[in-house]
Amino acid sequence: MLELAGEADVTSGETLHALLEAQIRERPRLLIVELSALRFMDSAALQVILRASRALRARGGLLALASPGDVVARVLEMTGADRLVPVYDSVAKAAAAREHPRGT
């Protein structure tokens, strides 16, 4: 699991990419990105997460987002990203995705 806090924007994209890359290299079956302490995310940061999701999927794993706050949830909803990556309102529900994967 990876917990993100603070604000993720174009200025932190490379750091975010490196963090996700390090996790994906371990080839987890399920990588949960916990977002409850993330106060802001712009579309550049979102693209980094979407690319990581595709990379993990190509390795047979699944990236799931958990517990987004209001602003982050709004960005996921407005961009349609919540239809590309599964979003759960808690880590426990995201963990259950291991048994019942969804999202395409």
């Binding site: 604000e7 924007d9 579309s43 550049a44 595709r54 209001d70 709004r74 960005v75 349609g80």
Partner: protein
């Protein structure tokens, strides 16, 4: 490339301005259009202000169930969402002909909004060129002459006397031919407007916007929307302008207004009108500008080799029904 097709039913984009005199003529012509669409087996989308949709529903007899209705107060209060709304509707009806009635200019529209309506009417010809889409745009013939002239210049087809004919003043070139009136410089911000310079301190700019918006009385959810929009535009400054940017904020009547200006030049006139597919377009700023259009009540872009200013407006009080509850700008509301 565009061809002028005066009769609905031929392949390719058909984009027509209907100048009507009064509600009766408007309703008759829309009903005839919807009947023809039903005979063609097309998917039909009718957008407009809620009051107009209610009247139309009652006049479409049995056809109302086969039509998708979209309240313009939600999907198109900002004219910058119009093209995207049609495109989404098209995506949801693959293989089908798409017929739309797009009522974008209603009586209470401000002049600033009307100029943006005509910008997006012009860009629609470019964005949907070749698509199997018919778009009928009703305009009240009593609109001021300068707006009627703009409608004639941005629609390949017009119907001055009840019959469709090519518009003599339509500029059918591939640039979208936005009328010059739509690109007039924006009035300067008032003295005393809050001004911030930024380079890479984007977080502090967003924080300042959040505080200003809440102090000005913008509802928390709408303040979040403004913060997201400003976040996208300031990120674009960093990515594309290669220099500092300026943010200016003030309130004007019932609006909060926010300018973001930098030295960048947006060269693609369609940037922000359509959501780029996932994984593409993210590096060119189109995705951010698209999001800005979905979140703000009016977006005015003035761009050139010397720089770009994007002016955002958020209504502080709700003039239009439903603006607080807008989800994704789906433009697809089945009424059964």
């Amino acid at each position: 490339m565009m061809t002028t097709v005066t009769e609905p039913g031929a392949p390719g984009l058909w984009h027509a301005a209907l100048f009507h005199r009064g509600a009766a003529e408007f309703e008759t012509r829309v009903r005839r259009f919807a009947q023809a669409a039903a005979r063609a087996g097309a998917a039909v989308l009718i957008t407009g202000p809620a009051s107009s949709l209610d009247r139309l529903r009652a006049r479409l007899d049995g056809l109302g169930d086969r039509v998708s209705w979209a309240d313009m107060a939600e999907i198109g209060a900002n004219p910058g969402r119009l093209i995207s709304a049609i495109s989404r509707f098209t995506d949801r009806h693959p293989g089908k002909a798409i017929w739309c009635v797009q009522q974008a200019a209603w009586a209470s529209r401000s002049r600033e909004e009307l100029w943006e309506v005509f910008r997006h009417e012009a860009l629609l010809n470019l964005a949907l060129a070749g698509a199997p889409v018919r778009v009928l745009c009703p305009y009240d013939a009593a609109l001021p002459a300068e707006f009627i002239a703009c409608a004639e210049a941005t629609h390949p087809v017009i119907s001055p006397g009840g019959r469709w004919q090519p518009s003599p003043s339509f500029h059918g070139d591939a640039r979208g031919a936005v009328p010059a009136e739509c690109d007039r410089p924006l009035p300067a911000p008032p003295p005393g407007a809050l001004t911030l310079l930024y380079t890479d301190n984007l977080s502090s700019v967003r924080h300042a916007v959040s505080v200003f918006a809440r102090t000005a009385g913008l509802a928390p959810r709408r303040a979040d929307d403004l913060v997201i929009a400003v976040g996208e535009l300031t990120a674009n400054t960093l990515t594309h302008a290669g220099g500092p940017g300026t943010l200016t904020m003030w309130t004007a009547g019932a609006n909060l207004v926010c300018d973001i200006s930098d030295g960048g030049h947006i060269t693609d006139p369609l940037s922000g009108t359509l959501l780029p597919p996932p994984g593409r377009g993210g590096d060119r700023g189109g995705r951010g500008l698209w999001l800005v259009h979905q979140l703000c009540d009016l977006v005015q872009v003035r761009t050139g080799p010397r720089g770009t200013v994007v002016r955002l407006r958020m209504r502080l009080s709700e003039f239009l029904r439903g603006t607080n509850s807008c989800g994704p700008a789906d433009g697809d509301r089945h009424h059964r």
